[in-house]
Amino acid sequence: MKLNGAQILWECLVREGVDVVFGITGGAIMPVYHELPNYPVRHVTMRHEQAAAHAADGYARATGKVGVCMSTSGPGATNLVTGIATAAMDSSPIVAITGQVSTSVLGSDSFQETDITGITMPITKHNYLVTDIGDLARAVKEAFYIASSGRPGPVLIDIAKDVQLAETEFEYPAEVNLPGFKPHLHGNARQIRQAALMINQAKEPLLIAGRGIIISRASAELRELAEKAQIPVVTTLLGKSSLPETHPLCLGMGGMHGEAFTNYALQTADLIVGIGTRFDDRLTSTAETFAPKAKVIHIDIDPAEIGKRVRVDLPIVGDARNVLSQLLPLVESGGHPDWIERIEEWRAEARARDVVWQESDALLPQYVIRSIWEVTKGDALMVSDVGQNQMWEAQYYLHQRPCSLISSGGLGTMGFAVPAAIGAAVGCPERDVWVVAGDGGFQMTCQELATIVQEGLPIKINLLNNGYLGMVRQWQELFFQKNYSGTPISGPDFAKFAQAYGIHGITVEKRGEVTEALRQAQAMDAPVLIDFRIEREHNVLPMVPSGEPIDKMIRRPAVRH
């Protein structure tokens, strides 16, 4: 049967299991939208294309499936760029579909024409410009395969408008043939034996769990390895929730805003096993000063990550869950009681310092996050924005369930949280989705409150409102002589702003009101926004100044006696 390009696209999407698309229509994608009502696909109409890409990303991170976003040519396509780059940095599988001007005018600077495949080349795993109807089905098939296989990432398909209208016989390719794309999924047996030997001999070993654990659903294997060999686990920001964070072997997030005991452990360890982590600079600070005593085993599915930032003694290329399963039987049950005791001493010392927020009468962000944790019993699907709010979430929300934090780690995209939460809530309607954002990032994508109401998503938005671009203000305070240039920001009365959209808004100005507001929000089967007017000039500590080794921290103030 002959179908047109638009119909072929939807036929392909349905075959790939797509049941929701986040997008905004426009001139060059109209034929595709014209066919949309004929297919069993939910379309979530966003208010800005950037948000559509973040929503597809949030959907992908929450469900593990490929997220799809859609836009028209020109400005619609360029608005996707920040969202695509965000997904690329955090290895999130999304397929972005853009309309393009007709082939007859392509290249002539016609209305709403832009070279989106050229623009997105460095921020996609691969992209396609489809100018021939005969190439469309194969492009879609390959795009989904590439986005979701190996190290996941974004793929863009740009479809000329006349291709959307051209007709051909529809045949969906049964398989893909990509000689240049063959991910290694299983670890090399000899290297795995070597790794087991190194682990069995280590006196002060550590595991670092990155987002690769979440992506490959390897939490059970990670926990088994940690418990069997009694090895403490440090996570990256995006590796948080790999292991229940109340587990005795979990040391939480390391790096620039990691706890002191976590960073001391990293700098003291004699063996580090990095699993699904890029050894990003927020974790390691300067690569030369990171973990100076440790031999490093690096397990990653992307060979290019191995040796990119830190020296590696033993590389293992493969999927985290496969490699851990191969490794487990070879690792001896054992313990490192002296090592763990030493870490526990550091932990106790750090905990004893962490009292200001507990004793203060002021409304402090740590208290807000810890209260959210208590009210949600650590079980919410948290979506954090970028900056101080993100670090406080990372420090004070102890995740219990695997894959329960969504945040823009690599790109650090402010404005990510609200649209990503929309994607997460659409993908996982059974989960309680809670957003933590600052007043700065929130105002970058707050138009999406309309989408939340339109789709009836019971997302709880918690604003840590301090009237500043707070993380930059903190740097200005510490390193730029308190020259608060460009960081003070105003905003609306956020509770009234939410109410204008039809969202229940609550303002909290006192510590005593926090739990009541959270319980009220939790009890409502509807979206709620809580504007927490927190102490304005409060810093995220500990903090490793730029360029310093990670054990040279600005600590929390010592306990007052």
Partner: protein, 175 residues
């Protein structure tokens, strides 16, 4: 820990990459070199023995750690099917140059002699210029260019390095 001793000397490495012959592939590869901050000395592309597959020879100035990253990052491009470092292989390396040199009736003979010494060829002559074609290693091409420069170079086109392993080994054998 570090990514490798900084004192390690950089040297010229010759890589051969095979890639699908499709629009955008060349710009994707050259874009990769720019955005990853790799230092390219020359880059040539043309058809390979397989229809639909282009062959690129690229010379980068790199140390071991950098060249390893270049190879891995090239491999990540979906359209790139094979990358080989042939720097340490026994390989034939050639470059072709077209050189248009100024001449008069009195210098024409001298230029002809130089061209013969280098086993190059004169492929075009006009009253005021001669065009020379030379194939050889970059050193050889450099030498001829230096000899011809005093006569006045009007125009020059060099292809950059193309390379192939000697003997029965195929650069595009799969691993």
């Amino acid at each position: 820990m570090s990514t490798g001793p900084q004192s390690e000397t950089y040297s010229r490495r010759t890589l051969v990459a095979l890639m699908e012959d499709k629009p955008g592939v060349l710009s994707n590869v050259s874009n990769l070199f720019r955005r990853r901050n790799y230092n390219i000395e020359s880059l040539t592309v043309g058809h390979s023995e397989t229809p639909g597959i282009s062959r690129m020879t690229v010379v980068v100035n790199a140390n071991d750690a950098v060249v390893e990253q270049v190879i891995k990052q090239l491999h990540k491009l979906i359209s790139v099917t094979k990358v080989t470092d042939i720097t340490d292989d026994v390989a034939v390396i050639r470059e072709l140059a077209l050189i248009k040199v100024h001449c008069t009736s009195s210098t024409r003979g001298e230029i002809k002699q130089l061209v013969d010494i280098f086993r190059a060829q004169i492929i075009d002559v006009s009253p005021e210029s001669m065009t020379v074609e030379i194939t050889g290693t970059e050193d050889k091409v450099d030498s001829l260019v230096n000899m011809l420069r005093p006569f006045g170079l009007k125009e020059m086109a060099r292809t950059g390095r193309v390379a192939m392993s000697r003997g029965a080994t195929n650069t595009n054998d799969s691993d």
